[in-house]
Amino acid sequence: MSETWAAVLVLAAGAYLLKLAGWLLPAAVFESRRVRRGALLLPVALLAALVVVQTFTDGRALVLDARAAGLAAGAVAVALRAPFLVLVGVAAATAALVRTLT
């Protein structure tokens, strides 16, 4: 089995167990404020990091290219509370336009 398939299946099992835990275990297990705070804040830190890695890196180099222009346009769409489709479309179109111009 390839490494990618292993990653897919392990994530599937783990993600399901994370969902199932709250349905089966007593709520008291999750009442600690630290657990709640951690589960709410982790996605924020990870998603912010993923934005950076997807947009501003090429291998181990930090780069500024057409993807940054796309992200900036996407940020405007977010600020205007545009739907997800518009956000993704605007970012892609802006990056494509910058590439044809440069």
């Binding site: 490494e3 994530l11 630290r34 982790l42 990870l46 998603l47 912010a48 930090l62 739907p83 494509a96």
Partner: protein
Amino acid sequence: MRDAVALGAAVGAYGLSFGAAATTAGLSVVQACALSLLVFTGASQFALVGVLGAGGGAVPAVVSGLLLGARNTLYSVRLADLLRLPRARRPLAAHLTIDESTAMATAAPPGLAAVGFWATGLAVFALWNLATVVGALGAGVVDVRALGLDAAVGAAFLGLLALQVRDRGTVVVGAVGAAVAALAVPFTPAGLPVLLAGAAVAPAVLRAGR
């Protein structure tokens, strides 16, 4: 009803971009579809393909995905209390426990929470998987860079991030996470910057007290 149409359009667009991102990152169409069928929690799936695509290896990719999936545990605690489902239904309900179904169940008028949960969960599941297939097949036949689809992935993460940012604490954590990742990229193997950013929440969590 308008909420349902808006939600459907958002899930469709999100699923298309996931399918495209997965095959662009080097996964097969079958692997992309397996993720949507079996993992069924968008941010975790995006994180896995993002880290794998950056050459980060399986372990950091899976750990990033699991850390993002931890919020689903809080959702299921809330839903278990709200819906009081019979034990036999809980394994299926667990698979459908995601942002959208939780939001609809908790926003529904009393008495309609269960209907809101099941209807939303099943509809999103169908749409999400359909959109993944289309996106995964579509990305194979177009020029990803020429269409700017690689930039769309970063924007998709930004859209997800915007949904999670609620107060000043979350803004600070997001900024610190982004800064840690940027500083770590030149010095660490792919995949690790995202995990290090996750560690940046530790001070905020410890300060929350028990």
